[in-house]
Symmetry: C2
Subunit: 304 residues, 2 copies
C-alpha cells in the first residue's frame, strides 16, 4: 500500500514549477502516480520526452479523471480557465491546489470555476529565472518554504494532505491568510522583480551610456538585476495585475525611502547613509543562517 | 631579467581589492615583488599571515621606498590622505594608481596630495560583497574589465605599463574619460547598490510584515538584493558622496520610470508591462554572451 498522501496526482501546466513537481513526485513519492497536461501541444511533447510525469496524455480528461489531487501550475490569470476546463472531468472528492504567486485572486478564481470542489491554495517560494518544460528539476523545492492559504471553509483533512504532499517533495510548509501572503510576497518577491525590471529598462534607454557599456560593465552589481529581470513576462504581468493593491502599497513606501536616500546624498549626509547601510547587513546574515541563501561570495559564482 | 611591467609594486589598503592584487601579483607576475601596507595594524597582521604580499612591513616608508608602482586600495574618500602620506617617501618616478570606484574625484584628490607625481587612475570592475583582509583571492580579476581613466597630461608610457600590469593579473583593460566612467558606473553599479540598500531597508521597517517573514520568504527575489546590500558601508557611503551628480541624475530617471510602471499597474495596462518585461530579457542574454555572468539558473546556486 502506498503511503503517498494522494495516490494519483495531476499537474496542469508543465513549465518550471509544474515540471519540477512532476519530477519531484517521481523522485520522492514512490507510491504515487503523476500525470501531466499542458494547453500547449509542444510543451506536452517536450514534457513526455523529459519524463516530467508518468504519463502526459493528449486529452485533459485522460490526465485528470483518476486524480485525487490536481495542482494548477499555470500563470495566475490563466488559473480560472484552467480550473473551469476541469468541470465535469474530475472526481467530486479531488482536491484542487495551485502554485500561483498571488493567493487571494487565485483562490477566488478557482472557487468561481469549480464551486463545491475542495480547494487548498499553495505557493512554493522557489524558482529560477528560467521557464518552460525544459526548466524544471526534482530538487527545486528542497529546503524551500511552501505557503498554504486555506480558506475559512477548507476541509482540515484536505489541508493536512496537501501539507504532507509538499513536505514529501522537500518543502517546509507554512500556513497564512491569503491577504497576508500577498503583502509578504509583494515585499519579498513582487516589488524586487518590478524594481529589477525597471532599472534594467532605465539603463538600456539612456542616451549618454550605450547598451554595450551597460553590458560590459555589468559585473559591478547590475548583472544581478538582469537575472531577475529575465524572468517570464507572462507570469510577471499576471502577478502585478493580480496583486495590484499590495504591490502599489509597498512601491509607495519604497519611493518615500528612495527620496530620503536622494536627500541624504544631496546634503552630503554621510552618517545617515552609513547607518542605513550598516543596518541592512544584519538581514543578510539572518537569511544565510536560515539557509535561504549561499554565503559564498557572489553566490559561489567565483568558485575559488 | 623580469618581464613584469613594474619590478616593485606596493599596495596600500589590504582589503578585498588590495589583498586580491597582492595575491594576483604573486600568482601571475613571477618577476615582480609586491609589498603591502594598511593603516590598521590588525589588517597588517592578517595580511602577513595570509601572505597577501611578499612583505607587509610595520612602517609605510618601508613598504613604498622601492616601489615603481603604488596602487591605492582604500575607500574613495580616504584616497587623499593615503596619497598625502606617501609624500617624501617615494621615488619621483613611481607611478601612482588606485582602484577607486569613482574616478573624477579620486584623480583630483591624488593630484592635490602628490603634485608632479605620475598618476594613472584605474577601476577594476570586479568584487564581491565581502571586504577586509580575509576576502581577497588571486583570481578576482580574471575575465573582468579594468577601466583606466588617464588625465590629459598622463605620461603615455605610464598608462601603457599600468595597462600591462592589469592585463598580467587577468583583466581586460579599457580606457575612458573620468566623467564618462562615473556616469557608466552610476548606472551599472552605484544606483543598483543604492536601490538594493533602500529596498532592504524598506522591507525591514514595515509594520505589517515582520522581519522574520521577510527573511523566511526571501528566496522569491529579495535575497539577491540583500547580498548587494551587505557590501561595506564605508566604501559605499564614500562612493555615493563622491559620485553625487551622476548618481542623482540616474536616480531621477529611475524614479520617472518607476512612476510609469506604477501607472501601468494602476491602470491594468498588461500590454505595457508585458512589452517592458520582454525587452529587458535581451540584455540578460547579451551579458551572458559577453561572459560577464553565469547562465546557470540562480547563478548555479541550485547546482542540479
Ligand atoms: N517561476 C517562478 O519562480 C515561480 C515560483 C513560484 C510560483 N510560480 C507560479 O507558478 C505558476 C507557473 O509558473 P512557471 O514559472 O512554471 O511558468 P511556465 O514555466 O511559463 O509554465 C506555465 C505553463 O502553463 C501553460 N499554460 C498556460 N495556460 C494554460 C492553461 N489554461 N491550461 C494548461 N496549461 C496552460 C503554459 O503554456 P504556454 O507557455 O504555451 O502558454 C506553460 O507551459 C505561475 O502561477 C507562477 O506565478 C512561479
Ligand atoms: N569591493 C568592491 O566590490 C570594489 C570593486 C572595485 C573597486 N573598489 C574600490 O576599492 C577600494 C577598496 O575597497 P575594498 O572593497 O577592498 O575595501 P576594504 O576591503 O574595506 O579594504 C580597504 C582597506 O583600506 C584600509 N584603509 C582605510 N584608510 C586607509 C589609509 N588612509 N591608509 C591605508 N589603509 C587604509 C582599511 O582599513 P580599515 O577598514 O581599518 O579602515 C581597509 O583595510 C575602494 O576605493 C573601493 O571603491 C571596490
Amino acid at each position: 500500500m502506498s503511503e503517498a498522501p494522494f495516490p494519483n496526482v495531476a499537474v496542469i501546466g508543465l513549465g518550471l514549477i509544474g515540471g519540477s513537481i512532476g519530477l519531484a513526485v517521481q523522485e520522492y513519492m514512490p507510491g504515487a502516480r503523476v500525470t501531466g497536461w499542458d494547453a500547449d501541444a509542444d510543451v506536452r511533447c517536450v514534457a513526455g520526452e523529459r519524463g516530467l510525469a508518468h504519463a502526459v496524455p493528449e486529452e485533459l480528461a485522460d490526465a485528470v479523471a483518476d486524480a485525487d489531487l490536481i495542482v494548477l501550475c499555470v500563470p495566475v490569470r490563466a488559473m480560472e480557465s484552467a480550473a473551469a476546463a476541469l468541470a465535469g472531468k474530475i472526481k467530486p472528492t479531488c482536491v484542487i491546489s495551485d502554485v500561483g504567486s498571488c493567493k487571494q485572486s487565485v483562490a477566488e478564481a478557482i472557487a468561481r470555476a469549480l464551486p463545491g470542489q475542495p480547494v487548498v491554495p499553495a505557493h512554493p517560494v522557489a524558482g529560477t529565472e528560467h521557464s518552460g518544460p525544459e526548466a524544471g528539476f526534482a530538487t527545486l523545492f528542497q529546503n524551500r518554504w511552501c505557503i498554504l492559504t486555506p480558506g475559512k471553509d477548507s476541509d482540515p483533512q484536505a489541508v493536512e494532505r496537501v501539507s504532507a504532499f509538499w513536505a514529501n517533495i522537500g518543502a517546509t510548509v507554512d500556513t497564512m491568510a491569503p491577504d497576508h501572503h500577498d503583502l509578504v510576497l509583494a515585499v519579498t518577491s513582487h516589488v524586487p522583480h518590478l524594481i529589477a525590471y525597471t532599472i534594467v529598462g532605465t539603463a538600456s534607454d539612456l542616451e549618454e551610456v550605450t547598451r554595450g557599456e551597460v553590458i560590459k560593465y555589468s559585473a559591478g552589481g547590475f548583472r544581478d538585476f538582469t537575472r531577475i529581470a529575465s524572468s517570464d513576462p507572462t507570469m510577471w504581468r499576471d502577478v502585478f495585475l493580480s496583486n495590484k493593491q499590495a504591490v502599489l502599497e509597498i512601491l509607495q513606501r519604497l519611493s518615500e525611502d528612495l527620496s530620503a536616500m536622494q536627500r541624504a546624498i544631496r546634503r552630503d549626509d554621510g552618517d545617515a547613509l552609513f547607518d542605513h547601510f550598516t543596518k541592512t547587513r544584519a538581514i543578510r546574515r539572518s537569511i544565510i543562517e536560515e539557509g535561504q541563501d549561499d554565503a559564498r561570495p557572489d553566490f559561489g559564482r567565483s568558485d575559488h
